[in-house]
């Protein structure tokens, strides 16, 4: 029995299909496509220096005359499709009209024959602003008397619920009520309460966002590293440009240099399309690194006030939270506090809950989902407060959590049943890995060591449909057509493994063709860790469809019913007999132009299997009967993770050094363990960054650190030594996942910050409440504690 026959490729660390191209420089990313286009125009953008201002006048007359400038785009130009894009919602890459609402927003765009000329043109443009009051602190942005982020007279700011009674900047709210909170707090033996917050952060992927639009008289092709060629780019562009039909718009995605959520909206594509349609030329626009910080989406930070009540045996019986998401200058969107709030109800089984969620806008760069979708922000509160609660109860943090996890098959506060979780196993695994209960070996000097542990959980949002086509070529080789984003996680490889397993053939016989709307079928986008699950299921269905067709063809040829046929190892076998068989390749009839034709399987024409998969839709949590905000299906499945760390805190400088980290991911059934490990390792180091050192710094409403020099993402020196990074895979099959698999690439980022905070408490006796736990903030806490002790 070959390896394939034994288990298929599920659970095997097969080499990535794109590794060779990426290791040799052959792999092409968006900017690498520039040379193949003639007459390329380059776009540069003049951006607002003010966090809030009226645009009084733009004089671009001199710039327009500069030789080499093809066109200048202003927000008032008639071909900007404002009636089809609600102003400054997620499509905020376009030049502003009327008003700028964050420093970094586009004001004027120039397209010229070289970047140098475009930059010179920007210097010739004069913009007159009337500076307006701004608000960047999200707590100051709440309330009916807050400074409005955008002029109320424009009538633009409204979330999906419409204008909100709680204030001009409030975009939405969501309340969750379960049980009897007051009675529960009255009954509680111990009550703890605290407010927590975090800073804005940028995913800071090493590749910048970019687009190239190729103009032809019969249509345009958009090359972009934006996610979701069908669901995001094509769908939105076709809606925005009524003169552009579905047949005239083609979208192609090269390899993406990361995304982590930042590329989930067509940020720069609409502008490039406007310019291409206007000039009838090819257009390229690659953002600069500075623009990636000032003008591409950040996360949405949260302020969370959390209160927990527990019995003295550690059972948590009451939970009350207020959470406010800061969406930045994204003033027209779907945020209402629910996304981040989900982190506060998906891990622990609390019978009485009141959750009050809000989303509010501020005059800072608009937000988009940043890996973890607001759960690192909200669970920063939960996990930290549990540490406080454990101490007050005299219980270990591990014991307290084990006692309160939602078990498989049980309901969370929404009313959803949990279908897959191994969080308890994750927790004990990481506690063992760093020997949590053994005290640290302290050394003389200002560095004090400590250990800490935390957990995280995250929903998968049922984000719509995925499709796949599987082509069985007439030589038996298989080609998978999928539109899946490849931002680095290795989705192509995982899906290829599924195909090879379904057909029981060596994986070298499977090729993945990806991400071209003219060739590959619909997929929404890579978000919320949905690809393995959603697209994986579609791939399985497509394989089964192709196999069904092969079975029918084999049955016809061999004179048996299709259900008696098995397709595997490139052959058709009769069930119950290994005697009569035919090679799949021989199912395809040869033909000659003049004599043989047939309607069945023919050489040169592949069999096409089609798969469509949609996760079950959510059941509305609003409207009659849902006044409590509850529903048996708010989200889809959940992924969990536990993290244990050993750190050192320098009590003189406040610096935190990560010495050792164990991270366990609850993964369903991992398709490719090495790829999963890679996600764990990358995820925890990304989380190390935003937990300890990287975040937006603002001065006078403007981001003061928009560059890799001062936006401190971890380099290799900030990571522990090799032997001190311990990734652990903890499988628990997801019943409706392909082969039981589910996504895991986000939950690992959630517990890192709180685990470090818990370790800081052990080491230095202070409890941080603001993330990132920068050296300055830690030193301030340490000095305040010392002052209190004196």
């Amino acid at each position: 029995m070959t390896d394939v026959q034994e288990n298929g490729y599920i659970g095997k660390s097969v080499q990535r299909v794109d590794a060779y191209d990426k290791a040799t420089g052959k792999a092409r990313f968006i900017e690498d496509y520039q040379s193949q286009f003639k007459d390329l125009l380059h776009v540069k953008i003049l951006r607002s220096p003010h966090p809030h201002a009226k645009i009084v006048n733009i004089d671009s007359s001199i710039a327009e005359k500069l030789p080499g400038v093809a066109t200048v785009v202003k927000g008032t130009d008639p071909d900007l499709p404002w009636e089809y894009i609600p102003y400054a919602n997620n499509y905020y890459g376009n030049p502003a009209k009327d008003e700028v609402i964050w420093a970094g927003q586009a004001v004027v765009a120039v397209a010229a024959s070289s970047i140098e000329i475009a930059e010179q043109a920007l210097e010739l443009i004069k913009v007159e602003y009337e500076v307006l009051p701004y608000v960047i602190d999200q707590e100051a942005a709440v309330g009916p008397d807050a400074i409005p982020v955008v002029d109320p007279k424009l009538g633009l700011s409204a979330g999906y619920q419409g204008p909100h009674p709680d204030g001009p900047n409030v975009l939405g709210s969501y309340k969750l009520k379960k049980g009897d909170l007051d009675a529960a707090f009255a009954e509680a033996d111990v009550i703890v309460e605290q407010k927590y917050s975090n800073d804005k952060k940028s995913t800071a992927a090493v590749e910048c966002n970019g687009v190239i639009v190729e103009y032809k008289s019969d249509g345009i092709t958009v090359y972009t590293n934006c996610c979701g060629i069908h669901g995001v780019v094509k769908e939105k562009l076709v809606n925005m440009f009524p003169n552009l039909s579905g047949s005239q718009l083609r979208v192609v995605q090269p390899f993406q240099g990361g995304s982590f959520g930042n590329r989930l909206f067509p940020l720069i594509e609409p502008l490039a399309v406007v310019i291409a349609l206007r000039t009838k030329r090819n257009v390229s626009h690659i953002l600069t690194r500075k623009e990636m910080f000032t003008s591409s989406p950040s996360n949405w930070p949260c302020v969370t006030t959390l209160k927990l009540g527990a019995k003295k045996d550690g059972t948590i019986i009451a939970e009350e939270f207020k959470i406010t998401e800061n969406t930045g200058a994204s003033i027209n969107n779907y945020y209402d506090g629910r996304l981040s709030g989900s982190g506060l109800v998906c891990v622990y089984d609390v019978p009485n809950v009141f959750g009050d969620g809000y989303a509010v806008s501020t005059n800072t760069v608009p937000c988009a989902p940043y890996r973890g979708l607001g759960c690192p922000e909200s669970e920063w509160a939960m996990e930290n407060l549990l540490d406080v609660l454990a101490e007050k109860l005299g219980m270990s943090p591990v014991e307290l959590r084990l006692k309160n996890f939602i078990k498989r098959g049980h309901e969370n506060a929404y009313g959803e049943k949990l279908t897959s979780t191994s969080v308890a196993a994750c927790l004990t695994a990481v506690a063992d890995a760093i020997k949590l209960d053994e005290p640290c070996e302290q050394e003389p000097g200002p560095w004090r060591k400590g250990k800490g542990i935390a957990v995280g959980g995250k929903q998968n949002t049922p984000l719509g449909r995925a499709e796949a086509d599987v082509l069985v070529h007439s030589d038996g080789s298989i080609e998978l057509l999928v539109s899946v984003d490849e931002q680095g996680m290795g989705a192509q490889t995982t899906l290829m493994q599924m195909v090879a397993t379904e057909f029981e053939i060596p994986y070298e016989s499977v090729k993945v063709t990806r991400a071209d709307t003219a060739v590959t079928p619909f997929d929404n986008f890579a978000a919320s860790s949905r690809t393995t699950y959603t697209t994986g299921n579609a791939v399985r269905i497509a394989c089964q469809d192709a196999i069904r067709q092969l079975k029918e063809a084999a049955g016809r040829k061999l004179g048996v019913a299709a259900m008696q046929v098995t397709i595997k190892q490139g052959k058709a076998f009769i069930l119950g007999s290994n005697v009569e068989e035919i090679a799949v390749a021989d199912l395809f009839e040869p033909f000659s132009f003049f004599t043989d034709q047939n309607w069945g399987l023919q050489k040169g024409t592949p069999v096409r299997g089609r798969g469509v998969f949609c996760p079950a839709p959510a059941v509305p949590w609003f409207g009659p009967g849902h006044e409590d905000g509850r529903t048996p299906r708010m989200w889809n499945w959940y992924q969990f993770s536990a993290c244990a760390v050993e750190i050192a805190v320098n009590v003189e400088t406040g610096q935190i050094k990560l010495l050792k980290i164990a991270s366990a991911a609850d993964t369903g059934n991992p398709i490719n363990p090495k790829l999963v490990e890679g996600q764990i390792e990358g995820g925890v180091i990304m989380a190390l960054g935003f937990s300890v050192m990287d975040g937006h710094v603002y001065q006078d409403g403007v981001m003061a650190n928009p560059g890799y020099n001062d936006y401190r993402v971890p380099t290799v020196l900030e990571t522990p030594l090799q032997s001190n990074i311990i990734p652990i895979i903890s499988p628990d099959a997801l019943p409706d996942g392909p082969y039981g698999a589910k996504g895991m690439a986000e939950s690992i980022t959630i517990p890192v910050g709180p685990a470090i905070a818990s370790a800081v408490y052990q080491a230095a006796g202070v409890r941080p409440t603001v993330m990132p736990m920068t050296a300055e903030r830690i030193l301030e806490l340490i000095n305040a504690k010392e002052a209190k002790n004196d």
Binding site: E116, K290, E652, D710, A775, E776
Partner: protein
């Protein structure tokens, strides 16, 4: 960031004549790791770019009887590998290794790092503590200036329009000297320093401080010496208490700003913390 003229002079004389012609519209290209980045972001415009990369005689390190001569175009990486920075000169070798990353040090030069005149330049405090002299050439001839007088403001030097730095001299300070430099930053060498502290102590046979230099980077418009700290050290034996006092004096003396990297309060506190360590390290290096 187009510039109109590009020169690659092969001698200092040629070079200063070009500088005289263009004045402030010319910029010298050494390694380029600061200049090229500024030109590309259009933070700086230039009419004539004058590359020093065709003048290999500016890259030599030479020991003479009066000290160590370092050519302005000497790469930082070469300084970190040179065996010639003995005794207290070691501080210059080590601090060159604090600049950014390997790739940058392979290209960046000591002259560039100095003339860029960032208050946070890592090579400078150690050199000032070593009483370094800058050798300057112009159309009127050569002159020398103590390095501590070379900086006139953030990004500004005492160079006249037709002048360039050709090298540095680290004088022979005699026996009993020890120096140290600490670059304090969150991400170590990758970051620009939040504070930089250098110190040199000259000890007598019985451990009395005969001479002292305390130099701070990143906490004033230029790198600065702290005369009050130096004076309180001279004639004393270094104790923990004295080091703490000197560090407090250094902290009180500096005038840092709040920026994206740190607040001014934190910088003052870090000066206080690190000056103590640097003094002790310099002291131990002097043994």
């Amino acid at each position: 960031m187009k510039f109109d003229w590009y020169y690659e002079p092969t001698s200092v004389n040629e070079c200063v004549e070009i500088l005289k012609e263009y004045g402030s519209e010319a910029k010298l290209l050494a390694g380029g790791t600061d200049l090229v980045v500024r030109l590309r972001s259009r933070a700086q415009k230039v009419k004539a770019l004058v590359s020093l990369n065709a003048m290999p005689e500016l890259s030599r390190i030479q020991k003479t009887e009066d000290g160590l001569h370092i050519g302005a175009m000497t790469k930082l990486m070469d300084i970190t590998k040179s065996e010639m920075f003995t005794g207290s000169w070691m501080v210059v070798k080590k601090s060159a290794g604090n600049v950014s990353s390997m790739q940058v040090r392979n290209v960046a030069t000591i002259g560039g790092n100095t003339c860029n005149a960032s208050p946070s330049a890592d090579t400078v405090p150690g050199m000032i503590a070593s009483d370094a002299i800058v050798r300057i050439a112009g159309t009127e001839g050569e002159r020398a200036l103590p390095l501590e007088q070379f900086f006139t403001g953030p990004g500004k030097t005492a160079l006249k329009k037709d002048e360039m730095v050709v090298g540095f001299k680290l004088p022979d300070l005699g026996p009993g000297n020890g120096a140290a430099y600490k670059k304090y930053a969150i991400r170590g060498d990758s970051d620009i320093a939040i504070v930089g502290v250098a110190a040199r102590l000259k000890l007598s046979q019985d451990g009395i401080i005969e001479d002292a230099r305390v130099v701070l980077g990143a906490v004033a418009p230029t790198p600065i010496r702290v005369p009050s700290a130096e004076q309180m050290l001279i004639g004393q034996v270094l104790t923990d208490e004295l080091a703490a006092k000197a560090a407090q004096a250094a902290s009180d003396f500096c005038t840092p700003i709040t920026d994206a990297r740190a607040t001014k309060e934190y910088r003052k506190e870090m000066v206080r913390v690190w000056t103590q360590y640097v003094l002790k390290e310099a002291h131990s290096n002097a043994q």
